[in-house]
């Protein structure tokens, strides 16, 4: 286990190094002098001069990278030009909102995706199987911002059941919070449910054909026990780890969903930063996302290692 952890950590370091180069390199795409662009519309010469000094723009590129990377390692992701706040502080401020949205979305995705996957595998080639596959194709093909708009039309405009936009903290009013979060979470969970359904179906089909399931059936066990206790427990191991890889989809989806439902989270932060040309925030958000994604992948790998005795024994 320790050796495996060391091995995995050893591959993460160069990946993070290249992520940092990639994100630092984004700034080089800006046409002209970055300080002039970062200074905003006023282009105040004193601000431009200050930015030149602060960002070490007069130094060679590798030196600038080292200054930037050094700051990042100390937790300094730069400062928002618009709000005049450290980027890390802004991210940490917005993160809980997106995490709540992501958590509800994952619960919805797991409930729908795993159930549909089990039904589809158990009733292979039946009408249920086809229905589940159609559901998966629907989930994968529907742009979530359009689904969001359509749900607003149905549940907010036509039926008046749910608020069309906005966010209320769960600590202020839990009911209002859930009412505001349920539609965006469903929109976000929908696409992930489709992916989880496909993984679950494929894993269940493999497990249902294995010898130990045949033995369990031969012993005369109830079919429900065979499926839920014997087959599902093993089929879920790859599904959960593959599900962790959907974190990227979740964050990408959150950008659009938060925009449609006007939720002040992480996704809205990057969009607002893009429109306000707040490039330090854009860089910070991408770096934070990539680091979180790499960490989650590592945790998923370790979880897979821990729950799979065959890997542990190797």
């Amino acid at each position: 286990m320790f050796n495996y952890l060391v091995q995995r950590l050893a591959t993460i370091v160069p990946t993070l190094f290249f992520v940092s180069i990639l994100i630092f390199g984004l700034q080089q795409l800006l046409p002209g002098d970055p300080a002039v662009i970062l200074a905003g519309e006023d282009r105040d010469p004193s601000v431009v001069a200050h930015l030149h000094e602060k960002l070490h723009l007069d130094d060679p590129l590798p030196v600038r990278y080292l200054y930037w990377a050094g700051g990042v390692l100390r937790g300094d992701l730069g400062e928002s030009q618009r709000i005049q706040k450290p980027v890390l502080e802004l991210i940490l401020e917005k993160l809980p909102v997106t995490l709540e949205l992501a958590l509800i979305a994952i619960v919805i995705a797991l409930s729908i995706g795993i159930t549909a996957g089990i039904v589809s595998a158990v009733a292979k080639d039946s009408a249920w199987d086809y229905a589940a596959n159609v559901f998966a194709l629907w989930g994968l093909s529907t742009p979530n911002f359009w689904l969001g708009i359509m749900l607003i039309l149905l549940f907010s405009v036509t039926l008046g059941w749910l608020p069309a936009s906005g966010y209320v903290s769960p600590f202020e009013d839990l009911k209002a919070n859930l009412a505001a979060m349920i539609m965006p979470a469903f929109v976000l969970g929908n696409a992930i449910a489709a992916v989880l359904m496909r993984h679950t179906r494929s894993a269940m089909l493999q497990v249902l054909n294995s010898d130990y399931v045949r033995t369990a059936r031969a012993k005369g066990l109830d079919e429900r026990v065979v499926i839920l206790k014997h087959a599902l427990r093993n089929a879920l191991i790859p599904v959960i780890t593959l599900g962790a890889l959907e974190f990227g989809t979740l964050l990408s989806g959150a950008v659009l969903t938060e925009q449609v439902f006007t939720i002040p989270g992480f996704g809205k932060l990057i969009v607002d930063a893009v429109f306000n040309r707040d490039y330090a925030v854009v860089q910070g958000v991408v770096l934070f996302t990539a680091t979180a994604y790499i960490t989650l992948n590592l945790l998923a790998d370790l979880a897979y290692f821990v729950v799979n005795p065959r890997l542990r024994d190797q």
Binding site: F18, V19, P143, M150, A164, I270, V286, T289, A290, I294
Partner: protein, 291 residues
């Protein structure tokens, strides 16, 4: 002898390409997908002929009119015909899908081929860079690239193309690693072919099949990505029509002009669904074990 020959059933020989085509044609989902894709491509190409109005023509007397015989999909907030804009919007979506996947393929295949074929430190370096790019969620990387490049359809296509490249690098590399140890590659090396010739003539043609499947599915992802960037204001710029930007405007009028949101969204859904069906069908046709 003649009688014996007549008794032996005659099997028609099919080339591998013909076998794939036969398997693909038998898959109804893939054929339905192909039909819808052909429909959208035809509509996009013939847009000036099939669009009922100029997509940019405004009319203050026809602001937010519900669908009618005059405007079958209704009109938008400045009286433009939604059907005409949806038809012209197909051009932006299809163009973005095709161009960005071409960018991904033209970068991903050579780099993946180089990594897989040469191996060693070049492979290690390319793999780490690929890992780094894959660590940034696709749309977030595309948004960041589009933000730094500046909002336009061309930049959106570049951003989507670059963001999707690592998938093609990884896929090509994996396929090349499997193919380069085959006997026929060894034989080509033994008869004195150069590395470049082996890579291009013997390895590349044998790794193309999964790349075709991935490219078809990547077009679907690119269509959604372009619509997403345009929805956020980073893709096609107004007043030029695109499905994503139409939805961005439509969300502000959802309570009194819902038709503005229905058609562009439905168009994205149908086009993406069709490419997904076609991709799934191609995958099954190229690798029957996958079923």
């Amino acid at each position: 002898m003649a009688t014996l020959a007549a008794d032996v059933p005659v099997f028609r020989e099919f080339t591998p390409g013909q076998r794939v085509l036969r398997r693909l044609v038998r898959r109804r989902g893939a054929m339905a997908g192909l039909a819808v894709v052909v429909f959208f491509v035809s509509v996009a190409l013939l847009a000036p002929l099939v669009a009922p109005y100029d997509p940019l023509q405004t009319s203050w007397s026809a602001v937010r009119k519900a669908p009618s015989a005059m405007h079958i999909f209704g009109t938008d907030e400045i009286g433009r015909d939604v059907a005409a804009r949806a038809i012209y919007g197909a051009r932006a979506s299809l163009l973005a899908g095709l161009v960005s996947v071409c960018i991904s393929l033209s970068l991903g295949i050579p780099i993946g081929l180089l990594a897989g074929y040469v191996g060693g430190w070049i492979d290690a370096l390319i793999s780490r860079i690929t890992d780094a790019m894959l660590a940034c969620p696709f749309l977030i990387l595309a948004i960041a690239l589009a933000a730094f490049l500046g909002p336009s359809l061309t930049n959106a296509m570049i951003a989507i193309g670059i963001s999707a490249t690592p998938i093609f690098i990884r896929l090509t590399r994996a396929q090349v690693l499997a193919v380069k140890v085959e006997d026929y590659v060894e034989a080509a090396r033994a008869v004195g072919n150069s590395h470049l010739r082996i890579a291009l003539r013997h390895v590349l043609p044998n790794v193309v099949a999964p790349l075709i499947v991935q490219a078809t599915l990547a077009i679907a992802a690119a269509v959604i990505a372009e619509a997403s960037l345009s929805f956020l204001g980073l893709g096609q710029q107004p007043p030029a029509p695109s499905w994503g930007s139409m939805l961005n405007t439509a969300k502000n009028y959802i309570d009194n002009a819902p038709w503005m949101a229905v058609w562009p969204g439905l168009s994205i859904f149908l086009l993406v669904l069709s490419f997904n069906l076609l991709g799934d069908g191609l995958r099954d046709a190229l690798d029957p074990r996958h079923r």
